[in-house]
């Protein structure tokens, strides 16, 4: 008696509508009559769902096959998945990929290993040959010192900084002409001239003709080892009016940062407030060569280093134009060079034409001053507009 009272009644309802009066079987909620019946129904339900899902997947796969004939549906078995991973490993060098299909069966074939040895040998010799070619002077530079081999060597790093690190969004590349002279005028910021390299990287990658912008850099950089060589081999040129005019006459795309050292060495509290625009040299360059000016605003570079103060004394001691004290520099040593991963926006505005003036206009100081202010205000407005849209320094 006590045993039956502990066992529950069956949870199902009879065909008549009344609750079942049989006792439930041990370990189940149903009696011996209703148990099989209900379980079969649940099985039917899941089977139905599976079928529907399968049909849906089949439809999707067939649609994908219509759109992309080369598409292969992924295998859902574990050996198949292993095969898939192996197939899509991209870390293998291009030479090894060629041997991929043979790897299974030919792993013990000495010829395969011989082939691999040839490949490794070839790669090694190619690298050694590259080094030798540099050492024996068998490379080309243009009269300004631009070395395309070096540019291609350095590109992956700058593209990583552009795409992954600062996730730069660039707009207005379509304004830059396919060919012919053009002068980009940009705001300068961020202690180190990353902004120039990022502008050049962006234009090189996005412009239909892959034009290389030639930035004019400050006279301080030629005194620094490695920097001077890297800048020159990368196609950058020392900022003098003669150089800029000559580049524009050679129909090059020139980028200038008229704020110069005052702009780079800005303190964090002065961020996005444009400094004085040099002595108007860039306007004289544009007027003399009748080159259109494209205002460029770079937002995000100001926050890459947070410069709290400048030390006049140390700067004078080590002969630097300025010596920033940031939250990481010089406390962390070389780690202080690592910039913060902010989100950048580079906006290139429409051209301000410079060909409507008389040939001697560059000696008209009033005109030069007026045009300098006009360009400066345009860029300041572009910076302000972008700042108003921006919600977060790090996520845009």
């Amino acid at each position: 008696m006590s045993e039956t009272s502990q066992r529950q009644l069956c949870a199902a309802t009879t065909q008549a509508g009344a609750p079942c009066k049989n006792l439930a079987r041990p370990g189940s909620r149903y009696c011996h009559l209703h148990q099989l019946q209900t379980e079969r129904a649940v099985d039917d339900q899941t089977a139905q769902l599976r079928r529907e899902l399968g049909q849906e997947l089949d439809a999707l796969v067939s649609r994908l096959r219509q759109a992309f004939p080369a598409y292969e549906p992924p295998p859902f078995t574990s050996p198949g998945r292993f095969e898939q991973v192996r197939r899509y490993v991209t870390g293998l060098p291009a030479g090894l990929q060629r041997f991929r299909p043979n790897l299974n069966e030919d792993l013990f074939d000495p010829q395969v290993w011989r082939g691999l040895w040839y490949l490794a040998n070839y790669t090694l010799k190619y690298q050694a040959d590259f080094a030798k070619r540099r050492l024996t002077g068998e490379f080309e530079t243009d009269p300004w010192g631009l070395d395309w081999e070096f540019v291609q060597l350095a590109r992956p790093f700058f593209e990583f900084m552009y795409d992954r690190y600062w996730r730069i969004e660039m707009s207005g590349v379509e304004h830059i002409p396919e060919q012919g002279r053009a002068l980009l005028v940009c705001n300068h910021s961020g202690q180190l001239p990353w902004d120039g390299s990022m502008l050049a990287t962006g234009i090189y990658n996005l412009h239909p003709r892959a034009r290389l912008a030639r930035s004019l850099y400050d006279t301080w950089f030629p005194t620094l080892p490695f920097f001077s060589t890297i800048l020159e081999r990368g196609g950058q040129v020392l900022a003098t009016v003669e150089n800029g005019t000559r580049l524009l006459e050679q129909e090059e795309l020139v980028a200038v940062f008229p704020e110069g050292i005052k702009g780079v060495g800005k303190l964090f509290r002065d961020r996005y407030r444009l400094a004085r625009f040099g002595r108007g040299g860039f306007i004289r360059m544009a007027l003399d060569t009748q080159s259109p000016i494209y205002p460029v605003s770079i937002v995000g570079a100001e926050e890459t280093y947070i410069s709290l103060a400048k030390s006049e004394l140390i700067a004078r001691m080590i002969n630097f134009p300025f010596f920033p004290i940031s939250i990481t520099w010089p406390w962390l040593g070389l780690l202080g060079f690592v910039p913060l991963p902010t989100k950048w926006y580079i906006d290139i505005g429409p051209a301000l034409p410079m060909d409507g003036y008389s040939p001697g206009a560059s000696s008209d100081l009033v005109l030069v001053a007026r045009l300098t202010d006009q360009v400066r205000n345009t860029i300041q407005e572009m910076v302000n507009a972008r700042l108003a849209q921006r919600k977060s320094v790090f996520f845009g």
Partner: protein
């Protein structure tokens, strides 16, 4: 043959390398009478040359110029001293002033002088191309550049005082060649030419034959003024050293400057080029050489450096057998060197495929 052009040319420093080459060329030209002046005899006698053995500082130079009715003076007497020294200064600067003064007193119409683009100085704010008007800011650490700048400054004043004299100054870039002795050839003949780590400036060169040709051109053509002279191409220091078959010895730049100032070791005291000249760009603008001087060097800088390497037989930094460009041809060579069995299987497979097709 009527001698339309009658010129009497005095070449000072005729026993120097440049003087001898120019004299040998000019004596063969009709209508030119060539006089030579030097303290030493030329290495081999030059026919038709009236040689006078005297110092350029000799006060009797005016009498010589008057007596021989010299019309043109080509002043090539110059000592290339690496360290500033009083003897060389007296010969180079005071001697040049005395020669120029004698020319003015004797009524010489034309003076030709060989200078160097080093007078502009290698400075971080140099524009990419230095025009002839660029202020002269040459290094004062090196004897010959200091003397050149001194003479150039004197020439500026001299030109204003004597506008009737055509004064032509040829500012040559680094002169290299198989036989001449210049700072650049001395630098390239070092066993390990020192460079400054992380600096690789663009350099200009000119071949020795082109310099002689330019001197002859300046003598024969009615041109006057200051002209830069260099081969049309310029190239980085690293490339120049590579083409000349030299391995550079990179030195941290402040160590090099300290070493020079403190005269540690012989390395930087002996270095024929100023350290700044291995650090910053000093490329001269050649527009006036082409337009006004109307001269185009025949040998490019790259060719001159290759010639230099082969003719001087400087040791090859990298053995020649390794220098062949790595290309498909070499890959096929590599495959051919492999066992013949591979080749047989390859050919057999190919034959089978063809049969199948």
């Amino acid at each position: 043959m009527a001698e339309v052009l009658q010129k009497t040319i005095l070449i000072t420093g005729v026993s120097s390398w440049w003087g001898e080459r120019l004299a040998r060329l000019l004596v063969t030209w009709p209508g030119y009478r060539v006089l030579g002046l030097d303290t030493e005899l030329p290495s081999a006698p030059i026919p038709d040359l009236q040689f006078t053995q005297a110092d350029i500082r000799n006060p009797l130079l005016v009498e010589l110029l008057r007596a021989e009715q010299v019309t043109d003076v080509c002043h090539l007497a110059f000592h290339l001293s690496e360290r500033p020294n009083e003897q060389a200064f007296d010969y180079n600067v005071m001697g040049s002033m005395k020669v120029f003064g004698a020319c003015a007193a004797a009524g010489v119409r034309k003076i030709l002088w060989l200078s160097s683009t080093a007078v502009y100085g290698a400075r971080p704010r140099n524009p990419a191309y230095l025009s002839e008007q660029h202020p002269l800011d040459g290094s004062r650490q090196y004897g010959y550049t200091r003397d050149l700048v001194e003479v150039e400054a004197f020439c500026n004043a001299f030109r204003q005082q004597h506008p009737e004299i055509e004064l032509t100054i040829l500012r040559c870039a680094n002169i290299i060649g198989p036989r001449c002795d210049t700072p650049m050839t001395r630098f390239l003949n070092e066993p390990l030419p020192p460079t400054l780590l992380g600096f690789d400036p663009m350099l200009q060169f000119i071949h020795e034959d082109d310099v002689v040709a330019a001197l002859a051109h300046a003598v024969s053509q009615p041109v006057s003024g200051v002209f830069n002279l260099a081969a049309p191409d310029h190239l980085p220091l690293s490339k120049a050293l590579g083409l000349a078959g030299k391995l550079p010895l990179p030195v941290i730049h402040w160590c090099a400057y300290w070493g020079r100032d403190l005269r540690i070791g012989d390395l930087f005291g002996r270095l024929p080029l100023g350290l700044d000249y291995l650090r910053y760009r000093w490329v001269a603008d050649l527009e006036r050489m082409r337009s006004e001087f109307d001269f185009e060097p025949a040998i490019s800088a790259e060719q001159a450096l290759r010639n230099f390497a082969t003719e001087r037989q400087t040791g090859q930094a990298v053995p020649g057998a390794l220098l062949r460009p790595y290309d498909l041809g070499r890959l096929s060579d590599l495959v051919k060197k492999g066992s013949s069995r591979i080749r047989q299987t390859f050919t057999a497979q190919n034959a089978g495929e063809e049969q199948d097709v």
